[in-house]
């Protein structure tokens, strides 16, 4: 597979590969330390507090000190834990978090010690899928951590996160499709290059918004942090973890945040390409400057993550899942259909943009008309059903209708006669009892989890 489009990828000398791996590791750890401090400071400012400002300049070393303290703490392993899996879970989480960064482009080709090389560890034709694959293995860490703790709250957190991340990964994957169509590639470096004149966030805005929503769900961050909802689940999947193992989960969460931000930057915000006013300057996209633009874009996303956490209350779990399945996924599919249809019309049928827009308007008008017709008919049907139900409720309830014991219909009630009283011949009529099934007990609905919190 000597693909000519991959230029210098795969031609690095061994020492450069090691150097790049090391650099990515160091950058991610530093970014984690910085992000924790940044998050605490920003959230503090949003809550009229000051936040950590004692250790180091502006409190910058606070998270380093916290990390050292965390690592040196006593480790408590629950008796009911499944040891091997309990140990494996944080390792999977942290390793996968680091691995995803192998294909993130930091910048264009630069010269390092005389060797011209791209600022990216490696790239191959399906590297965006590689990030998805790594993310899906990373979920195992959380799910297994929840299971292996042998305790109820972590288990609930683990179950929640597995359902949540599968659901939001679908929406995330669908939001990539339009990008692949426009870039004509699934490799990160080529997607960045394909955004040279205009970013995909502009021309594929719906995809961008869907990705931004899905990435918050995928990283378990507020307002979608249900696997670790402290109001309901103590700490969620990591409740029983302490010391260094907990630190690994913590590290993984923050690296994942950086990873999804970097993916958003790469796929939608032009990666390392300079933003508009800067891109007028020749040298803005050459040398080491692009890495700065990349870093700024990623930091903007991280700031939005923090902003969301400081602003929004946690969603209820069933609403969250409904949003994922009934809003995000259908909207993504519809958007992909529109995008591919427009492309086919433009490229193969060779309609002009104006013609496409006009036909689009016609289709929208037709859809509105159709939905109006459907809505009227549905209303009529609903009214008919309500009338029928009212009529049924008015009819007296026969518990042995057609010779079979039947439950009452909605709205009907029956009078309970105790058997002993019936046998003795005197009917004691008690209060009318509606059937237990027709009364929806809000506190014991098996469909949903607790709504408190």
């Amino acid at each position: 597979m000597t693909d000519s489009t991959f230029g210098l990828f795969g031609t690095d000398p061994w020492w450069l590969v090691i150097l790049k791996v090391l650099a990515i590791f160091v950058i991610l750890v530093l970014l984690t330390l910085f992000t924790i401090w940044w998050e605490r400071r920003v959230v503090s400012r949003m809550q009229n507090r000051i936040g950590p400002n004692r250790v180091g300049p502006q409190g910058l070393l606070q998270s380093l000190m916290d990390g050292i303290k965390l690592a040196l703490k006593e480790e408590i392993i629950p008796k009911s834990a499944h040891l091997a899996v309990y140990w494996l879970a944080p390792v999977i989480s942290a390793t996968m978090a680091f691995l995803a960064f192998a294909v993130i482009p930091f910048g264009p080709e630069v010269s390092i010690f005389g060797v011209v090389t791209p600022l990216q560890l490696t790239d191959f034709p399906v590297s965006v899928l590689y990030v998805l694959a790594i993310a899906s293995i990373g979920i195992y860490g959380i799910v297994l951590g929840g299971w292996a703790s042998g305790s109820t709250y972590p288990l609930l957190g683990g179950i929640r996160s597995s359902a949540q991340m599968i659901s939001y990964e679908i929406a995330m994957g669908l939001s990539f499709v339009a990008v692949f169509l426009f870039a004509g590639s699934m490799s990160t470096s080529q997607i960045v290059i394909a955004q040279e004149p205009i970013w995909f966030a502009v021309i594929l805005l719906p995809s961008f918004l869907i990705y931004c929503t899905a990435m918050v769900g995928e990283t378990n961050r507020a307002p979608f942090d249900l696997p670790e909802a402290e109001g309901e689940l103590v700490g969620g999947f990591h409740t029983e973890y302490s010391s260094l193992k907990f630190a690994l989960f913590f590290l993984a969460e923050y690296i994942n945040m950086v990873t999804v931000s970097a993916m958003a930057t790469t796929l939608f915000l032009g990666g390392y390409l300079a933003p508009w006013p800067l891109s007028l300057w020749e040298g803005a996209n050459q040398g080491w400057w692009p890495m700065l633009w990349w870093l700024i874009k990623v930091q903007i996303f991280i700031f939005i993550f923090i902003w969301l956490r400081g602003t929004l209350p946690r969603m209820r779990y069933d609403q969250f899942m409904r949003f994922g399945w009934k809003v995000l996924i259908p909207v993504s599919i519809a958007w992909i259909m529109i995008v591919s249809l427009a492309r086919v019309l433009r490229d193969d049928v060779s309609l002009t943009t104006t013609e496409i827009l006009i036909s689009g308007a016609v289709v929208i008008v037709l859809l509105i008309l159709a939905s109006w017709v459907i809505q009227t008919r549905a209303d009529r049907r609903n009214r008919a059903r309500e009338d029928a139900e009212a009529a049924a409720a008015a009819a007296p309830f026969d518990p042995m209708e057609a010779g079979f014991p039947v439950p009452p219909m909605p709205g009907q009630s029956f009078t309970y006669t105790s058997r002993r009283a019936a046998a003795q011949g005197n009917t004691i009529v008690q209060e009318p009892v509606t059937t237990s099934r027709s009364v929806e007990d809000p506190t014991h609905d098996p469909d949903e989890e607790s709504t408190h919190g």
């Binding site: 597979m1 000597t2 693909d3 991959f6 990828f9 795969g10 031609t11 499944h82 899996v85 490696t122 191959f124 034709p125 399906v126 899928l129 590689y130 998805l132 694959a133 993310a135 899906s136 293995i137 979920i139 195992y140 799910v143 297994l144 929840g146 299971w147 042998g150 288990l155 683990g158 179950i159 597995s162 359902a163 991340m165 599968i166 990964e169 994957g173 699934m186 209820r316 909605p410 099934r437 027709s438 929806e440 809000p442 609905d445 709504t451």
Partner: protein, 273 residues
């Protein structure tokens, strides 16, 4: 990685040899572990290991798309759903070894034997008769591995592809039909619930906390109302049911009233400041 793949297309290089022996050993170990594990969750983990190693082999054999899809679909979605079900079913449920279908073991052995023959035959054929040549030119034809696969799926194998997806959708529909529950009444929304809470006979808001004044702050001490009366509901119901509620005599209350109205000084006050 690219270099390794490039070499793999022509001759098996040292890199490929290493990758093969590592992933093959791990994949077989995962398969064995899957069969030999007692706990269902452990089996699921072993098979996930096998799948990941197979994916690495696909990538090493110049099929990066297949490798990634293998991980995303099988490891990421299918096995995750398995894990999900296993975790919902029970933390400690292990498989029972009682034979539920008669002659199951014999049938399984026969089928396994047949499968083994088929696989060995297939691999043997591939090793002796067909030769893997022209991978580079096949990939080159449509501009890359991914494009080549897309071309095959959407032209030559379109019907098979669509039939498979129809099968999967049918399975999903079946599961939905089986799990469907007809509701007798419209589901109660958050709005309905809050209205019911306010209109209902119970206490709409949070119950008052137990007494936290003066000398007692345990849960068995009732709270005082603004008028000096005692709030019965401030003591948790279980405590009340056990009869462990602390009887609050008026002496305490009067003392508090006197202190709050400034008639007596707080004990200890005046010493400090």
């Amino acid at each position: 990685m690219i270099v390794m793949l490039a070499d793999a297309a022509t001759e098996s290089s040292t890199g490929e040899q290493i990758v093969f022996w590592v992933t093959a050993v791990l994949a077989v170990a995962g398969a064995l572990g899957m069969v030999l594990s007692r706990k269902a969750v452990h089996s699921a983990l072993w098979i996930a290991l096998t799948m990941i190693n197979l994916a690495i082999m696909y990538v090493a054999n110049s099929a990066p798309f297949l490798g990634m899809v293998q991980i995303i679909v099988y490891t990421g979605a299918v096995m995750m759903l398995f894990l999900f079900v296993l975790m919902v079913v029970g933390v400690d449920s292990s498989d029972s070894l009682i034979e539920t279908i008669k002659g199951q073991r014999v049938a399984a052995l026969l089928l396994a034997l047949g499968m083994a023959i088929l696989i060995i035959w297939g691999i043997g054929n591939a090793l002796t008769e067909s030769r893997t040549v022209g991978l580079a030119s096949a990939n080159e034809e449509h501009g890359g591995n991914v494009q080549g696969i897309a071309n095959l799926i959407f032209t030559q194998y379109l019907l098979v592809f669509e039939l498979t997806s129809a099968l999967l959708i049918t399975a999903a529909m079946g599961a939905m039909v089986l799990a469907h529950r007809e509701r007798w009444k419209a589901r109660l929304t958050q709005r309905d619930l809050s209205i019911a809470r306010v209109r209902g006979p119970g206490h709409a808001g949070n119950l008052p906390n137990p007494g936290v004044f003066a000398r007692h702050n345990a849960v068995d001490t009732p709270a005082l109302l603004p008028d000096g009366g005692i709030s019965e509901i401030s003591v948790p119901a279980p405590v009340r049911a056990r009869g462990d509620e602390r009887p609050l005599d008026r002496v305490d209350i009067d003392e508090v009233r006197q202190i709050s109205e400034g008639e007596t000084a707080l004990p200890g006050e005046g010493k400090s400041e």
